[in-house]
């Protein structure tokens, strides 16, 4: 990896003002002061072709007297490298420069920082509260001087929705309490007859305070906490956390542990994609397809239980490895069951594909444009459905993925070309997401088989991770079924966690729904929503 090259690029542009440092193997940290951090981020974003993955604010007033901002960028194709542009403002300041001028997707992170740290993104046009609803001013939960036991008096909720005026424009408020067993979220539609002319979402009704909670917990418990960020992404989130801590400890986990993580991550992907496809079928009013797919999902969840003891794959990861030891019997069971599931799924999928009334509902519904997708920085299946080829498993391989043959797309120049053409053809509608998910299920089964074939049997499943030095930090990442999960951990004193920043795929993807529904009618909204497969819990940290 020729990291110096990037260093030279940056030095050529910014001179001696910025220092660069390579840590944890693939993170290039670039230190700039508050004056040129925005230009630096813009440079990384546009000249180096990187995507903004997360903005991490950290209250380091006890360490250096500063609030530190880390803008994490990732290179999406080719090299496995992250750029972390770092700047800090004095602990007494309350303003920091906004990045939204160049990178619109930074807006959400800046609003988050405003809520949690009380720091104001100067010049940003949207400064409404995001995470905390009817929260009194002067209470900033992620500052270190905010006690977790503080009881705050709720203030009056004054949230400004965008008003759409005009003849015949009708507002439909939906939520935050919905029919069915789902979590809270408010959707405000402005409609003209059936057509949606504007949608505004308001989420974060069940803010759990996960990031603050993690700072009070022993490290082993934080793994359990991370599994519960979103119950259906347990493996993805805990893998991201464990990998961050292992990176800090410079621990090399046993191959078998990495393989087990990969297998469980793919099993998680399969059962969740099956659930989403079933949900899509339900929302299209096609209960028969949903029933068939739900049976398959149930099969998969039973397999999860037999493998890990938990239907939702809780308790798989631990720091330094995994907790479950896959035996030969497990191996045989997983292979045979996933194989029969794959065959059965193929039949159901072909059946659905030929069901014209069902396909007609999905086609050209919830279309996302490539510009919007890039602007909002969306990830996962939603991004791939518009032809943006992002996949953490490929871009930044982790666990056992480096030694796997992920897909055929990059085998030969011919395959590459074919894949490029296919990417161009994808138009980002619900149908393309439906097909992609189905392909991913089949691909995941293939990956599980590949990994199981090479499974190291006579190996320990975890290694000891000794006490960690305070104030070291690292990124941890994984690809959940929703897309990229990006965690950042800084170690505190006595092997505690000083700061745990979580960014799930849902946080990136929720806003795109406001664009995706614009060409649709109200009756198709549930389909669009389901096809994007967004998590409330994974968003309301």
């Amino acid at each position: 990896m020729e990291l110096s090259e990037y260093g030279l690029d940056i030095a050529a542009k910014f001179g001696e003002d910025v220092k660069t440092e390579l840590i944890n193997g693939n993170e290039i940290h670039i230190f700039a002061d508050a004056d040129n951090i925005i230009e630096l981020c813009h440079f990384i974003h546009s000249n180096l072709g990187c995507r903004l993955l997360s903005v991490i604010c950290n209250d380091e007033r006890q360490i250096s007297g500063m609030f530190v901002f880390r803008y994490v960028f990732g290179k999406e194709s080719g090299e496995d490298v992250f750029f972390v542009a770092t700047s800090s403002i004095d602990g007494k300041d309350i303003c920091f420069p906004t990045l939204t001028r160049y990178i619109p997707s930074a807006s959400l992170y800046e609003r988050e920082i405003k809520d949690m740290f009380g720091l104001i993104p100067k010049g940003s046009s949207d400064q409404r509260p995001l995470l905390l609803h009817s929260w009194p001013e002067g209470n900033y939960p992620l500052r270190k001087d905010f006690d977790i036991k503080t009881k705050v008096q709720k203030s009056k909720d004054e949230y400004q929705f965008l008003k759409v005026a005009g003849d015949g424009v009708c507002e439909i408020p939906v939520g935050p309490v919905h029919a069915g067993i789902i979590e809270p979220g408010h959707f405000r539609f402005s409609t003209l007859g059936e057509s949606i002319i504007n949608l505004e979402t308001r989420l974060f009704y069940t803010h759990k305070g996960v990031e603050k909670l993690a700072e009070q917990m022993p490290m082993e418990d934080v793994v359990l906490l991370s599994e519960r960020i979103a119950g259906d992404e347990s493996v993805a989130n805990s893998t991201a956390l464990c990998q961050a801590i292992e990176k800090i400890a410079k621990a090399k986990i046993p191959t078998k542990a990495a393989q087990t993580r990969t297998i469980c991550a793919e099993m998680e992907r399969i059962y969740n994609h099956l659930g989403t496809l079933a949900g899509l079928s339900t929302d299209a009013g096609f209960a028969f397809g949903a029933a068939r797919l739900n049976i398959l999902k149930e099969m998969m969840m039973n397999l999860n239980e037999k493998t890990s003891g938990s239907r939702l794959l809780f308790g798989v990861n631990r720091i330094g490895g995994v907790k479950i030891d896959l035996t030969d019997a497990n191996k045989k069971m997983i292979i045979s069951e996933t194989e029969s599931l794959g065959n059965e799924f193929y039949k159901v999928f072909e059946f659905l594909r030929k069901k014209s009334s069902f396909i007609d509902r999905l086609k050209n519904t919830g279309t996302i444009t490539k510009e919007d997708a890039a602007g909002f920085g969306i990830v996962g299946v939603a991004a791939r459905s518009v032809g943006i080829d992002v996949d953490t498993r490929k871009d930044h391989p982790y666990a056992n993925y480096p030694s796997l043959h992920l897909d055929k797309h990059h085998d030969t120049p011919y395959h590459k070309m074919k894949y490029e053409v296919e990417l161009q053809k994808r138009n980002g509608d619900a149908l393309s997401r439906f097909v992609l998910r189905a392909e991913e299920i089949q691909n995941s089964i293939m990956l599980i088989h590949q990994t199981l074939r090479d499974l190291e049997n006579e190996q320990p499943i975890w290694c000891d991770v000794g006490p960690l030095e305070p104030h070291l930090h690292a990124l941890g990442y994984s690809e959940s079924h929703r897309g990229q999960t990006m965690h950042w951990v800084m170690i505190g004193k006595n092997n505690s966690i000083y700061r745990y920043k979580i960014r799930t795929a849902s946080f990136c993807n929720w806003k795109i729904i406001e664009q995706a529904v614009l060409n649709d009618i109200v009756a198709d909204f549930p389909l669009v929503n389901k096809s994007l497969d967004l998590s409330y819990s994974g968003n309301d940290l």
């Binding site: 009013g285 509902r361 198709d524």
Partner: protein, 314 residues
Amino acid sequence: MTLDLISVAIGIIQTLVLVVLAPLLTGIMRKTKARTQKRIGSSILQPYYDMIKLMKKDEVVSESSSWIFRASPWINFVSVVAAACFVPVMIFYSPFGLAGDLLVVIGLFGLGRFFTLLAGLDVASSFGGLGSSREMMVSALIEPALFITVFALSLTLGGTNLSTMVESATHSTVLAPSIIFAAISLFIIILAETGRLPFDNPATHLELTMMHEATILEYSGKGLALVEWSQSIKQIVLFGLFVNLFVPFGISTAESFAILGIGLMFFVAKTAFLSIFIAFIETKVAKWRLFRVPDLISMAVASSIIGVIFFYLK
């Protein structure tokens, strides 16, 4: 057909049969759908249990609603029961048929629907308004299909009086092509009128996609029980009309207990078969896009027009 005591009794029994059996059909349809989806499903008597449960419950009524909201379930119920009076069930005539024909049945349904839609708007919930506007769209489009179908039927069967129509259907030995096309059209109309797939998904919990369900979303307790009961009576009346007009086979022609009993059994069997058939169709199809629904309705219109043309070609 004089209005003597026996025929009055028969008329009352026929109406009661429809009113009492109505929820059973809903139960049969739900059970069929459950079985086709590899579920066991609840008992076919579940709609009765639900209604009994709802009858015992209190009602919650929106503060912003008016008398329309409270009156509409009753108006709806009375209008569908009145419509049920005119429909022959086990015998080929309905003694109350003197007072109303097929057009009155349609009109009564229209009255019930009108008040349901008003009630949907009355509670000032955005879903109610949405549901009402969609239901209005479908019913406005279905109207021409319905009237041309009635036209085709009454031309072929000699009048709009249901007793006459069923009687001549019983006696006719050859199946007229106009009847076949009218049957196709009426079948589509029944799917639309009873809120079945691909028009409306009666099983959905998604308010944003609802049509009929959205208009009754605010009802609870006794009001809801009445609304659901009316809906299933409307369904059985339409099914009954369909089977007795197009497959009158087995309907009794004499006023004796044994034959009436057989007629009743045939009626139940035929409507149950029709509802199982419709449940199968619902299994086979996804809900159509809202703006594609007119395509299906135009098919009904076309089919009924062909029916009329065939009558004159004869």
